[in-house]
């Protein structure tokens, strides 16, 4: 009788699981089945063993039938619920079943710096013929637990991600590969040190050049939290997992403009899940992952042992492939051939088969191989989302660009690498002649707000350096009037400073405020927002701006139904094609490359086009050996309608930054107005030199998201620049009126004499 009771329990588990997936018991008469089950349990002793077994069989059949039907018509949202089920396997199950033995590092269970992030040194077993080898790996991943509260659902706190980074570096020291398991709905959005965004950015920056193979696999890939350990040489995904820029509920709340405390309608959530293209197959098609690891129907649970066997095979195979690719293509081909011969391919079809690799591959790498590993990693990310943006450049233009880039390469190599020494000597002579070089000092001292030069206009002498040869085809000067005044100033009215109650500020007359005061309250220094054009006109030397890649435009890579029209509208309104403007400019005679995210275009959100333009800006700065400035007028994060095409910009752009900085570049980030989420948690936040304009806000998630995920209220100044400074995120707060001088000083002190600092 006991085994029948067990069968019954299994049935109940199955039904409850289906109820979870379908979010309620209405679907497929699950409630009827449950009632039947209860009835059976209640009348357990009224049946003969045989009769009861028959009844159970009937239910078993019904459950199996429903499960099959559920799998057949499985929706993206069903997958989300599968992934969130407490019955699903967790990282601890994997550590128990995939690896031979392991030791948890940086805490254990509840006694942990962050129980949502588990790190373990583990051994994985490889059988070749009859011999057994163990290989060491560093396992890093989120632990959702099976409903344990303290695991926080796998939502990692900043210090959890810091722990992950620490042990990645241990892996690097020891030269062992990293297996990274992603089970997170997203990072825990708090700013407490080291700060969600800052830590993710640091992780990405480090992983970009981590000299060991990284294989990651996604079960629940929630945006930034996932990327914190997700940058990898090989990216796998479980067949029932999801990988998304935002939770479908979050997307629905934004799209449906749902007020706080209210819930978005279920249909809208389902729709959003559909539109965001979050499934494994979608992501494989989009190229954000490399392979799918099949799970049993309706997803693997904590006791699917065959599945764990397969997972071990897949993880080893992926690691092997990464290692072999750095050795030689021939070795890699031979490996694939051998796999086939050994019949291991069968394993993909039939999981019950022996899933051992019968080939012995060492995961150690020499210096050259490590270099190749990093090069391949960079190449892999550089190519991502390549089709997810519009590029109207003609083929001829493309050709010109390529040619001029090649020419430029030669030019800059000659100038900087060959002539450098000679140039230095010339400079020395000039310096000796001019004594203290006071002519230079004078230029520095010409104040930003030209209150003094109304009658005597000092002619600004000296022409700049040789103009850049690259992308001359597309270079296009922005229109400048004689002097620029914000259009906001054209109104005879006053406004109240938000600090008037506490600081006694008088009402400000709008023409003064947006004219002479540069949008700054003269009493308390509060900065009112100004349009991005103001900065283009007032920050850089007159007529020095040459934009490039203006034609690279945002598109709708996921065919999101809402985005298409919105994009069209904003393109018409702004006469621009993306939320980023990349240009070359001069500031007090310093040539630099600038990437500027601005608010008018979809709130400065970053998608594939913006990412690509940013990467190209990094490349141009590297080629021309110029400092790179990212001025963030505003960014609202990753453009959610681009789904993982947007998310992938985080590692993609961070890799470009790392490449530029490692080549000796000086990368300065200046935040203004509002800067939040993905970009701050990656290519902006990873800069060594970050500053903010006064009255700006910087952070990972806004009020509402914090309240929804943490259940806590945050103080009104939580994201203020001052608090960002206190937390060590930024290094200084600049007055807008001093922007030009401060930026110049930052360039000089951080960049040194060559500006390209090594």
């Amino acid at each position: 009788m006991e085994h029948i009771r067990k069968r019954l329990a299994k049935c109940e588990e199955g039904i409850r699981y289906l109820c979870q997936i379908k979010e309620g018991c209405e679907w497929g008469n699950l409630s009827g089945l449950l009632a039947k089950l209860d009835e059976l349990k209640a009348s357990f002793y009224d049946y003969s063993e045989e009769g009861f077994s028959d009844e159970v069989s009937q239910i078993e059949e019904a459950v199996a039938f429903l499960a099959e039907r559920c799998q057949e018509e499985i929706s993206p949202m069903d997958r989300v619920r599968i992934v969130r089920s407490p019955l699903r396997f967790s990282l601890k199950d994997i550590l128990e079943n995939v690896y031979e033995d392991y030791t948890e590092l940086g805490g254990e269970g509840e006694a942990n710096i962050d129980p949502a992030m588990v790190v373990a040194k583990a051994n994985i077993l490889r059988r070749v013929k009859n011999r057994v080898f163990t290989q060491q790996v560093m396992v890093i991943g989120h632990e959702k637990g099976h409903g344990e509260e303290f695991r926080n659902g796998g939502s990692t706190k900043p210090w959890g991600n810091e722990k992950a980074l620490r042990f990645m570096q241990v892996a690097e020291t020891e030269g062992i590969p990293i297996h990274s398991y992603i089970f997170t709905p997203g990072a825990y959005p708090v700013e407490e040190y080291p700060g969600a965004a800052q830590q993710i950015a640091r992780n990405l920056y480090a992983m970009a050049k981590l000299r060991v193979p990284i294989v990651s696999i996604i079960s629940e890939g929630g945006s930034g939290g996932a990327e914190a350990i997700g940058l990898a040489d090989f990216r796998l995904m479980f067949s029932h997992g999801y990988y998304s820029v935002i939770s479908p509920e979050g997307a629905a709340a934004i799209e449906g403009r749902v007020g706080e405390g209210q819930k978005a309608p279920k249909e809208l959530i389902e729709q959003c899940a559909e539109h965001l293209k979050i499934t494994a197959q979608d992501n494989l098609d989009l190229g954000t992952i490399d392979r799918i690891v099949e799970e049993p129907p309706l997803g693997a649970k904590h006791d699917d042992f065959a599945f764990f066997k397969r997972l071990r095979f897949e993880m080893m195979r992926a690691t092997d492939e990464v290692v072999l690719k750095t050795k030689s293509l021939r070795a890699f081909r031979a490996y694939e051939l051998k796999l086939k011969k050994a019949g291991d391919d069968e394993a993909l079809v039939n999981p019950d088969q022996d899933t051992n690799l019968h080939i012995d591959i060492s995961w150690e790498m020499n210096d050259d191989e490590q270099k190749r590993l990093l090069a391949l990693r960079a190449k892999k990310y550089r190519a991502m989302a390549a089709k997810a943006y519009l590029n109207d450049t003609t083929r001829f233009g493309e050709f010109c660009k390529k040619t001029s880039t090649r020419v430029a390469k030669v030019y800059y190599t000659v100038v900087y690498d060959i002539l450098k020494r000679q140039q230095k000597q010339v400079e020395k002579v000039i310096k000796e002649v001019s004594g203290e070089g006071s002519s230079f000092v004078k230029r520095l001292s010409s104040p930003f707000t030209a209150a003094y030069d109304f009658i005597i206009h000092k002619p600004e002498g000296r022409s700049g350096k040789t103009p850049a040869a690259a992308s001359r085809q597309e270079a296009l000067a922005l229109e400048f009037g004689d002097t620029y005044t914000s259009p906001l100033a054209n109104e005879d009215r006053t406004v109240t400073c938000p600090n008037s109650a506490t600081r006694g500020c008088k009402d400000l007359w709008v023409p003064d405020l947006y004219g002479e005061f540069c949008g700054v309250c003269e009493n308390c220094g509060h900065h009112f927002p100004l349009e991005y054009q103001w900065y283009l006109n007032n920050l850089f030397d007159r007529d020095s701006i040459r934009e490039f890649n203006a034609k690279i435009g945002a598109s709708n890579p996921l065919n999101h139904p809402v985005l298409r029209q919105k994009l069209q509208n904003v393109k018409n309104e702004t006469k621009r094609h993306s939320a980023i403007i990349t240009f070359q400019a001069r500031l007090l005679e310093v040539e630099l490359v600038v990437a500027m995210l601005y608010s008018d275009f979809r709130n400065g959100t970053v998608g594939a086009a913006e990412g690509e333009k940013f990467v190209q800006a990094c490349e141009l700065a590297k080629l021309q050996r110029k400092p790179l400035l990212a001025y963030v007028h505003t960014t609202g994060g990753i453009r959610i309608q681009e789904g993982t095409m947007g998310v992938i910009q985080m590692p993609k752009c961070t890799l470009a930054v790392r490449d530029y900085v490692d080549a000796g570049g000086l990368y300065i980030v200046v935040y203004d107005n509002n800067s939040y989420a993905g970009p701050v948690a990656s290519f902006l936040g990873c800069s060594h030199y970050q500053f903010a304009i006064r009255s700006s806000r910087i952070g990972f998630a806004g009020y509402r998201v914090i309240r929804d995920t943490t259940g806590q209220d945050i103080p009104p100044d939580y994201h203020s620049a001052r608090n960002a400074l206190k937390r060590g995120h930024i290094h200084g707060i600049w007055d807008r009126r001093e922007f030009r001088r401060n930026l110049h000083q930052a360039l000089m002190t951080m960049g040194g004499r060559n500006l390209y600092y090594r």
Partner: protein, 215 residues
Amino acid sequence: MHDEIDFDRILSQYPADPYEYIDILTPHAGRLVFKTSEEQPVSGPSGEWQHVPGTLLYQLERERNVKPVRSVVNGVVASLERALDGQFVEAGEKVMTLRHPLKKREIIDRILRNVLSMFLAPERAKYFFALDIQSRIDKHGQRSISIKPGDEVLTMSLMKRDTPVLYQGEPGIIHSVYFTPGATVDQDQPLIGICPEDKLPLIQKIIARVKSEWE
């Protein structure tokens, strides 16, 4: 200040009229539009950081800037100068009166004003605590600071000049502070309330009594 204080008399005046009447004056000139009316309840700012604004009382439009004026206390609109609605008003015009039910803390505060020894403003001027007093307050709290006659307790800022103010009166601890640093205080208005140390138990008794009797 006497040892026998007629508690009953002092306390009895509050249940009869447990309110404070607060006149609302316009901060500046402009055209006024009321946004509340007689007998309407109003509330002051709330929330953990006082970030939820109080009830909108009226709007004042000046130079095309419509400024909302909100209540800073809880209470009820006791009276309102209806005739001013829609009119141009001068700065400092009384536009309404709020009836604010006194809280326990406020009643204690008021009673203490009768009991503590008050140090009054010698001039109509702005006042600040003397630097070392201020730093001691910041460190240990005002109640830990005992002062005696001749101590330099305050700085008076008058006509752009700072003059030290020496304390005169009974020695004791600074029990209550009645001024806001930097705001103008009228002559003879109380600046600080001093409690001689031997009277502290008495004060505690009063506080305890109000707390128990007043709900």
